[in-house]
């Protein structure tokens, strides 16, 4: 408890470098918040900042985790298979969901007028393209699954004939 360093560790819970960088980050954010407080839309910005965290941690994560649990429960009885059917469903589903998440404004046509003003074009093609990409991802995954399953069967029948 003698020197300042160990007193800081005991009281604060970490060393001085931790205190400095963490405080600096909070002060910077506080300064920005004060600066933006005068803006008419400051409340909206704060809402989007905190809303983004809530949307990820308490909506998106539970959503995809639950979807995955449901999927796992559905394909569990095939767990004996050496080639995991589960992952051949998971991968295209995740890829498709990722594309929807990133390109939602176009796919869901969320900015029709601003998009038209900026580019001179409408948002028509995106939904169909996303559906086609999704279909292509699932077909590709199914083909890989079939090829892997076939290769596995050949391998095991080869082993059997060796034994015989």
């Amino acid at each position: 408890m003698g020197d300042p360093t160990s007193r800081l560790r005991a009281g604060y819970g970490a060393g001085s470098r931790h205190l400095i960088v963490v405080t600096a980050a909070i002060v910077l954010a506080g300064w920005v918040a004060l600066r933006l407080a005068g803006e008419a839309t400051a409340g909206r910005m704060l809402l989007w900042f905190l809303g983004a965290v809530i949307a990820h941690d308490l909506v998106l994560f539970p959503l995809y985790a639950t979807a995955d649990r449901v999927l796992r429960a559905l394909v569990r009885h095939r767990a004996g298979n050496r080639v995991a059917l589960l992952n051949h469903l998971r991968v295209p589903a995740l890829a498709s969901a990722l594309l929807l998440l990133v390109f939602a404004p176009g796919i869901l046509r969320l900015g029709e007028t601003t998009h038209l003003a900026a580019t001179g074009q409408d948002q028509h093609p995106y939904l169909a393209r996303w559906l086609q990409l999704t279909a292509a991802l699932f077909v590709l995954s199914a083909l890989t699954y079939a090829l892997r399953a076939l290769a596995r069967r050949r391998q095991s029948s080869g082993k059997r004939s060796e034994r015989a």
């Binding site: 970490a14 060393g15 909070i26 965290v53 796919i107 580019t119």
Partner: protein, 457 residues
């Protein structure tokens, strides 16, 4: 049942060494908080089943972000500099002491802005799966009890809110901006600029605090061996002080190689669907889900438009035979019509036009050199030039050009593109094109250029 794993502490190098229990002052308070476990936290603790979560996987995702995010931050700040903060035309213009040293944005190489903004937007999109993977790997920490054992951990949790909120806010506003869906209802520039600073501050703090942990974690399992381990041989990592490893992990349904590959594959998929908007030729169409993967039409004017003539509110009669270009140089005023401009020495240059929204295209422009117009206005050595458009309103109806941008031999008042007249959407009768200048400052439907001399500059 409370967890019996080692108590977490605030971070790597600064980890407490003398206090085995890790509680800060007031000790009694933190201990009481730990003891009063709300219903459900133990159930939540037991519900984490993935055997992949652990310091190694978090460190791999973290390393990818540690290497690439600084590039996104720097290219973003360069984009701000390219807008010309010296002329108060970088947004937001009033940023207090969060202002970087100002410098004249160069005109060479002409692809400079194409690269900085292309990298910023493309990399920002490509990193989304890595950010999501990283957040997945640490999400149990959100539901840990106690939330903190010391003031250090309270402050660190606050910076984590800034870190996670910051990156998600930047991703969300950026994605909506490049796809023209302004759902948020606040000024994009202001929000994205200040959001970047909040994120950067928290990012630096997080790296300083966690870097030693990251290095230890990466060393704990050799990368090569881990990437050769199949699903059947994938085992959980040993319990760690950060509580990332699940208390009761289930069997692996994916190997660590698979988890890294999944995130990497997602990043590659997004890259494949994004780079097209920075490429010319047939590859442009590969940006299937982005506005700038499409060509607005065939022919020499069939390249992406930013802001149509209709959206800009410029009426066709304003751009007809009655259109005049006014050049000002101090007291001197020169008025030119389009045939007059076409009678001047014409120069042709292949230059990219690049938008801060992450797309670019290289076209061949023909027109009068800006420096010839400056000389005609009697200001051969201008301090700046103010270019005004026929547009009535809008953030970019005027743009200031720095001396190097006026005097570059390829800086043009373009009248034609790819051998034909500019189309109305591309700025007919005349538009500015300057090497490495952001597209929005390459003013279309130019009405007036005011060359400011050194004295009145």
């Amino acid at each position: 049942m409370a967890t019996s794993r080692p108590g977490p502490d605030a971070g790597g190098i600064d980890a407490p060494t003398s206090d085995a229990d890790g509680y800060g002052t007031p000790r009694r308070f933190w201990r009481a908080l730990d003891r009063h476990r709300p219903p459900g936290v133990d159930a939540a603790d037991r519900s984490w089943r993935s055997p992949l979560r652990g310091p190694w996987l978090t460190a791999v995702y973290g390393t990818a972000l540690l290497v690439t995010l600084p590039l996104v931050i720097v290219t973003g700040l360069l984009d701000y500099a390219a807008y010309g903060p010296r002329f108060d035309q970088a947004f937001p213009s009033d940023v207090g002491w969060l202002r970087l040293p100002t410098f004249d944005w160069p005109t060479r190489p002409s692809w400079l802005f194409r690269v900085t903004q292309g990298l910023h937007v493309t990399l920002g999109i490509v990193l989304i799966p890595v950010v999501l993977g990283k957040l997945w790997s640490v999400i149990p920490k959100l539901f840990n009890w106690p939330p903190a054992r010391s003031l250090a951990q309270v402050l660190e949790r606050l910076t984590l809110l800034l870190l996670v909120g910051g990156i998600l806010f930047q991703i969300a506003t950026g994605l909506l901006n490049i796809q023209y869906a302004y759902l948020f209802g606040f000024d994009f520039y202001t929000a994205h600029y200040f959001g970047a600073w909040i994120f950067t501050g928290a990012f630096v703090a997080h790296v300083v605090v966690k870097l030693p942990r990251l290095i230890t974690a990466l060393r704990s399992r050799p990368l090569g061996a881990e990437l050769r381990t199949p699903r059947a041989a994938t085992r959980p990592e040993p319990p760690d002080p950060d509580d990332l490893v699940a208390a009761r992990p289930g069997p692996a349904t994916v190997s660590r190689r698979g988890a890294v590959g999944l995130v990497g594959g997602g990043a590659l998929l997004l890259a494949a669907l994004t780079v097209g908007q920075s490429l010319d030729g047939p590859l442009r169409r590969t940006a299937l889900l982005l506005p700038r993967g499409r060509q607005p039409g065939p022919g020499p004017n069939g390249f992406p438009v930013n802001r149509t003539i209709a959206a800009a509110g410029v009426r066709p009669e304003q751009t007809g035979p009655d259109w005049r270009l006014i050049l000002r140089g101090g007291d001197r005023t020169v008025t030119l019509d389009r045939p007059g401009l076409l009678a001047m020495a014409q120069h042709t240059a292949a230059l990219p036009i690049s938008c801060v929204e992450g797309w670019s295209t290289r076209q061949t422009w023909t027109g009068v050199r800006l420096r010839d117009l400056a000389a005609l206005a009697g200001v051969a050595d201008p301090a700046a030039a103010r270019v005004s458009s026929l547009e009535r309103a809008g953030l970019f109806r005027t743009a200031m050009l720095a001396p190097n941008q006026v005097l570059d031999p390829d800086s043009l008042l373009a009248l034609r593109v790819n051998g034909v007249d500019l189309s109305p959407d591309h700025g007919y009768p005349a538009r500015v094109i300057v090497p490495a200048l952001p597209g929005v400052h390459c003013t279309k439907w130019v009405a007036e250029i005011d060359f400011q001399g050194r004295a009145d500059g």
